[in-house]
C-alpha cells in the first residue's frame, strides 16, 4: 500500500488571484513534484514550474455534468496521476470561478489521496462587488464558507482600507484563518510534512515545528487538535494508537482524525505550521501537550 498523495483545493471567484498564487507556489524552490489540475490553462506558468505537461501532470478540470466529471473529468485525472510511474508528491486542484470548492474537495477522499486543505482566494478590490452581485453573490459567499483557510490577494497593492473591509466581509462569513496573498504560499499550499522536513524551519514565510507525539487514542488526538491556538494554521502527523496508527490533521479551522489502514509500523511524528511571524514558542508550548 502506498502513501496517500496530499491534495489541496484552490478556489475563488474569477479574478480572485488563484493563478498568481498557484504560479508562485509552482515556481518556488521546494523540490516537490506537484501535479496541478486546472480549470483554465490560460496563465499557468507550466514552463517554469516543475510540472511537465507531457507527463500529464497538468490536467484539465471538468466542470460539467455528473457523468463527465466522473468518467472523463476529475476522477479519471486522479486515476491517471495514480497510474504514473512516479506519483506526484502533491496535487493541487484549481476550481473554476463558479465552482464549489468543498464539493471539489470531496475528490480528496479518492483512494490514494488525502484531502490536505481547501484554500479560497479573494481579491480585496472586487470582493464587495461580487458579494453584492445579484447573480453570483451567493456563489461567492458559499465559496468563502467552504474554505479551511482564506487568502486575501494583492494586499501589497490594494488600499489598506479595502483590505480591512475585505477582511471584515470574510470574517462575517467564516471563522477560518485569513492570510495575506503576497506572503502566503508554500506554507499553505504545500504538504505540511514536507515543509517540516525542510532544513531551516525558520523559513521567512512560515514557522514550523516537528516533534514525536506520545501514544494516544482517537478522542485524545482530536481534543488536542480542536484546542489548537489560532497562530497555528496547519498540523499533520501520525500517532501511535496501539493499532495501525492515527492520522491527525488540522487545516485552518478543519480538524480530521482518521485511522490508518496500512498495517506496516509507523514512526510517529507531528508537524505544525504557524503563520509568518509567529513566535516559535507558541508552537512548542502547544506541542508540549502531547509530546512523547
Amino acid at each position: 500500500m502506498t502513501v496517500a498523495v496530499p491534495l489541496t483545493v484552490l478556489g475563488g471567484y474569477l479574478g480572485a488571484g488563484k493563478t498568481t498564487l498557484l504560479n508562485r507556489v509552482l515556481t518556488a524552490d521546494h523540490g516537490l513534484r506537484i501535479a496541478v489540475i486546472v480549470n483554465d490553462f490560460g496563465d499557468i506558468a507550466v514552463d517554469e514550474a516543475l510540472v511537465e505537461p507531457e507527463d500529464g501532470n497538468v490536467l484539465a478540470l471538468a466542470n460539467g455534468c455528473v457523468c463527465c466529471q466522473a468518467v472523463d473529468g476529475l476522477g479519471s485525472a486522479l486515476d491517471d496521476l495514480s497510474a504514473l510511474e512516479t506519483r506526484p508528491d502533491h496535487v493541487i486542484i484549481e476550481v473554476s470561478g463558479v465552482g464549489d470548492p468543498w464539493a471539489v474537495a470531496q475528490w480528496g477522499r479518492t483512494p490514494g489521496y488525502a484531502l490536505d486543505g481547501v484554500l479560497v482566494v479573494v481579491d480585496p478590490e472586487s470582493l464587495g462587488t461580487w458579494l453584492a452581485d445579484q447573480y453570483v453573490g451567493d456563489t461567492v459567499a458559499d465559496q468563502i464558507r467552504a474554505a479551511d483557510v482564506l487568502i486575501v490577494s494583492r494586499t501589497d497593492i490594494a488600499a489598506a482600507n479595502e483590505v480591512a473591509a475585505a477582511r471584515e466581509m470574510l470574517r462575517a462569513l467564516s471563522d477560518a484563518p485569513i492570510a495575506d496573498g503576497p506572503t502566503a504560499g508554500p506554507e499553505l499550499l504545500l504538504p505540511v510534512e514536507r515543509l517540516g522536513r525542510q532544513p531551516g524551519t525558520d523559513h521567512p514565510l512560515h514557522v514550523a515545528h516537528s516533534f514525536v507525539p506520545r501514544s494516544m487514542d482517537r478522542a485524545q488526538l482530536r481534543a488536542w487538535l480542536d484546542g489548537t491556538p489560532v497562530e497555528v494554521v496547519r498540523i499533520k502527523g501520525l500517532v501511535d494508537d496501539g493499532e495501525h496508527g492515527l492520522i491527525g490533521q488540522l487545516s485552518g479551522r478543519r480538524v480530521e482524525v482518521s485511522r490508518r489502514r496500512d498495517p506496516r509500523p509507523i514512526d510517529p511524528v507531528m508537524t505544525m505550521i504557524g503563520r509568518p511571524g509567529t513566535d516559535p514558542g507558541v508552537l512548542i508550548a502547544w506541542a508540549a501537550g502531547i509530546v512523547a
Binding site: 484539465a60 478540470l61 472523463d72 470531496q106 477522499r109 447573480y135 453570483v136 480530521e256
Partner: protein, 546 residues
Amino acid sequence: MTTILTAQAVHTIDAGTSGDAIAIDDGQILAVGSAADLAEAHPGATVDDRYGDQVILPGFVEAHAHSMAGGIWQHLYVGYFDSRGPDGKVWSGCRTLDAVIERLAEAEATLDDPYEPLLAWGLDPIYFPGERFVAAHLDEVSTTRPILVAHASMHLLTVNTAVMEKEGIDADTLADGVPKDGAGDPIGELQEPAAMRLAGDSFVRFFVSLMAEEGLRNYGRLAGNAGVTTIVDLGGTPIDNDRLVASWKSLTAESSFPARVVIFHNPGMGGVTPDLNEIAEIAVARQGESTDKLRFGPIKFVLDGSIQGYTARVTEPYVTGKDNGLWLIPPAQLADWIRPVVANEMLLHVHCNGDQAVDVMLDAFTEATGGSPYADHRTTIQHCQLTRPDQYQRMAELGMCANLFSNHFWYWGDQHHDLTVGPDRAVGMNAAASVLGLDIPLSIHSDAPVTPLGPLHVAWCAANRQTANGRVLGEDERLSVDQALHAITLGAAHQLRMEHEVGSITPGKRADLVVLDADPHDVGASGLRGLGVVATVLGGEHHPVG
C-alpha cells in the same frame, strides 16, 4: 422507382399539402394527395397499402435528448413509471421499494457469474417520501454480489454492503457524500461524483458503458420505437472524441439505424474553460463530415442545473429546500462564450432551467451581438421552464426559440407545486401557449433519459398539463392537438435548422414518416399519449416498431 404509400389519413403538418397518400421516390417525398390522383400522376408507381388502416405523420423530431438514454438500457430499469426499452419491451414502474427489491432479485437470479455486479437505474426517491433506499434493502437481494442502483437524477447511487466491503467504504470514510447511520456506519448512499466513484469497479462499469457503441445503437432503437426519425445528442458526444465520432459514423451508415442524429457539442463538458474560437474551428471542420443521417456543427452550453434537484438558478428562492441553484458557466463569462459562436453563425442551444439563468442568457446574448444578432440565428433556450412573460418578450425581440420541457408536468408537476417553486410558479411553467402567442418558434422535449423518449407523451403533457396526481397546472397554457403535433415535428426541425429537409410531409423533403395506430384528432388531447407507434419510415426505408 416511385412508391405510393396509402393510409387512412395523412397529416402533413404543412398547410399546403393534404391527402391520404404520399408518393415517394428515392427517399424523397414527391407529392401528397388522394391515392387515385397520385396513381394517375405517377403511372407505373407501386402502391403500398401496408399502412392502409393507419395514420401517417411526419416523423417526430426530438431536439433535446442524450444518447446516454440508449446506453443506460444495458442495465436494469427500476424507475417509478412504466418505460419501454430499446427492444420494445415495456417495463412496469416499481411503485414501492419492495417492487424495486423484487425486480433486482429476479435479475440477480439470472446472473451466472457470482462476481458480476448487478447494475440498475431509474430509482427516484422523490416518489417515496419518508423512506430511504439503503444498503440494507439491497442486501436482501445479495450479500455477496456487488449491487449498484443509480438514482434517476444520476447524482446519487445506492450500493449494497458487498460493494462497500470490496471498495473499503466504512465508518472511516471521510467523504461528505457518504451519509452514516447513528452508529457511524455508511448507509450505502453515495452522493455526487466524488463519493459515487468510491463504488470503484461497479461505478466505472456503469458509467463507461453509457457511451459504448451498443448504447448508441439502443438510442436509435428507442428513437424508432417512439416514432422519432430525427434526434439530437445534445452535448453527449464531444466532437473531438474520435472514437465516439467513428462509432456514430459507422452506426448511422447502417440502413437498420432508424434515425438521423444531430450532434451538439458542449464545450463546457469534461475539459478546461474552452477556447471557443478553437471549438468553433473544430465544429466547422466536423460540419464537413456530416452525412444524410449524421450532422455536426451545433453547439450547446449549460448554464444552470435542474429544478427538481434545486440546482436551477431562480430569481425568487425555492419554497422548500435550498434558496438557489448553481452556475455551470460564470455569468460574467457567458458573452465571451457566445461571441465566437455567433461570429461563425453557428447554431447555439443553451440550457437554462431557472429564470435567473434566462436573465443572464438574454443579457449575455444582447452584449455579444450588440442586440442585433444575424438574421434567422435560431438561438434556442433549452428547458426554459420558469421563464417569465417579460423574458419571453425579450426572447421574441431577439429572435430566439424556446424548447420547453413539458414532460415535467407529469413527472414532477406535483413536486413543483408542493415542494420546489410552489403553486404560483408551477402553473406558469413551460408556458407553451404564451410562447406561440409571441410567435416564438416552439418545440417541446423529453430530455431522455431524464424522462422517457416519447414525443407523443410530451405532446400529451403540453396539451393537458396534468400531473401524476391529476392536477392541471395552468390550463390557459395548454396547447391544441395541432399545436402540440407541430411542436414535435416542424417546430423542432426549425430549431435544428432542418425544416427544409424534415418536420413535415412536403414535396422535396425527405420521406421521414411515423405511422400511428389511430388518428390524433380522433383521440383528442387526452388520448395523445395512448397512441401507438406502428412503424417509422426514414428516407423511404421502413422500420417496424419492436
